[in-house]
């Protein structure tokens, strides 16, 4: 017990080392939340293009071109590691010390996540019965209105578990932020370890924090799922 106290003091209290963790927590939150937003918006747009092309048999030339571009995007993003993408974004695409590292991380993780979110949304849209489209169209709604008012809300409800899965993965994926010297939880904990030469407490603390965030997220999604349930009997 005495040793634990000592270790705790060394790793978190001395020189205000706890600030590495709390600052890192802020970065992890910011990067994750904005990357999720970017990923969902971009992913939804890609899913719309892909599913519209699938449904219409791609007669429209512009649509076919867009669809081809989206497929290329999915192939490249899903076929390369997120860490390489982050490094390329930071060292090659921006290649400037003046650009905000958080911004680079948000952009990189958002673009990465969008590829997965797009396929999740697309599977949701394709799972909705064709009759729903026909009912919407026959009332006079345009394709876009039918998608927005009728199909997308049902698709969203169906893919919520898969979407939560992707958000959890994204949150944990941000632990590679340290590779561009951005202090997130993991990088913060690692910095403490390198100063104190005592790995256990900082790393365990980081692990527990991730676990708590993921648990809260899971709880929230579970609540949302129950709220969206309309097939009550």
């Amino acid at each position: 017990m005495e040793e634990f106290k000592q270790q705790f003091y060394l790793n978190f209290i001395e020189d205000n080392r706890w600030k590495y963790i709390t600052n890192g927590l802020g970065t992890t939150f910011t990067v994750t939340i904005f990357a999720i937003i970017l990923g969902v918006v971009l992913g939804f747009a890609i899913a719309l293009v892909r599913s519209t092309a699938d449904k219409s048999g791609s007669k429209n030339l512009v649509l076919r071109l867009l669809d081809w571009f989206c497929k290329l995007y999915l192939t490249v993003i899903r076929g390369t590691p997120a860490m390489i993408q982050l490094l390329i974004m930071y060292y090659i695409i921006f290649a400037s010390p003046n650009v905000s590292k958080q911004f680079v991380a948000v952009l990189s993780f958002g673009i990465n996540s969008a590829a997965y979110v797009a396929e999740i949304f697309r599977s949701g849209i394709m799972s909705i019965d064709q009759g729903q489209f026909e009912a919407g169209r026959s009332l006079g709604f345009s394709y876009a209105q039918t998608m927005w008012y009728i199909v997308a809300p049902q698709a969203f409800k169906n893919v919520l578990p898969a979407l939560a899965n992707e958000f959890i993965t994204l949150l944990k994926e941000t632990s590679i932020c340290g590779y561009i010297a951005l202090t997130d939880i993991t990088h913060g904990a690692n910095t403490i370890r390198s100063q104190t030469y005592s790995p256990m407490l900082p790393l365990l603390a980081a692990a527990v924090i991730y676990l708590i965030i993921v648990s809260l997220l899971t709880l929230g999604v579970g609540k949302l799922e129950r709220r969206l349930r309309t097939d009550v009997r």
Partner: protein, 246 residues
Amino acid sequence: MSDKTVLFEIKDLCKAFGDNLVLDHISTNIHQGEVVVIVGPSGSGKSTFLRSLNLLEEPTGGSICFEGLNITDPKCNINKYRQKIGMVFQHFNLFPHKTILQNMTLAPIKLLKKPREEAEKEALELLKRVGLEEKANAYPSQLSGGQKQRIAIVRSLCMNPDVMLFDEQTSALDPEMVGEVLGVMRDLAAQGMTMVVVTHEMGFAKEVGTRVLFIDEGQIKEENTPDEFFKNPENPRLREFLSKVL
């Protein structure tokens, strides 16, 4: 009948899926107030014909004019046009994520820009007419098949259509529930609604129909008043068909 306004003017309507010609030069006129019942064996093209009337199937040849407007013209705004045509499906296709009232008011509010209160008031009146006003805040999953189909009918009526299309509206129902749906349609016909009905309910065709079409191999093989149609069928294929279903 010819003195009444022509709603649909259908000329040489064709629909092909690849090499398969499903509709083969169909021509007919549908007048205001008519209840046209379409019967025929499965795969005859009767559903495809009905679905081309609101362009859920895109015709590959011929033309359809609705109230004088050529709707098969690519320049025609089909969304505007579809608002005037109600459609009832075999599988109801209610929106499961919305309450009954929301199912009914979505299109009037978004498309006709009706104020919510007005749209809800009209929807509730229609619900009362089909005896389902207590279901206004229920979800579709809480209703029986017959109730769902009655809701599907009044959902279309909320748009004040000039004509209603029915695509095998009772085929997915338990026999007990067929009556309640046909009852609603009978009332509609009595109020003068123009209807085009694809169905296997020969009793309904006889009693409510003003004209019966027999479609086979993508063509109208016979059309007549219900009396003559069922008493003196001329086409041999129709005789065979009627002997099986009656």
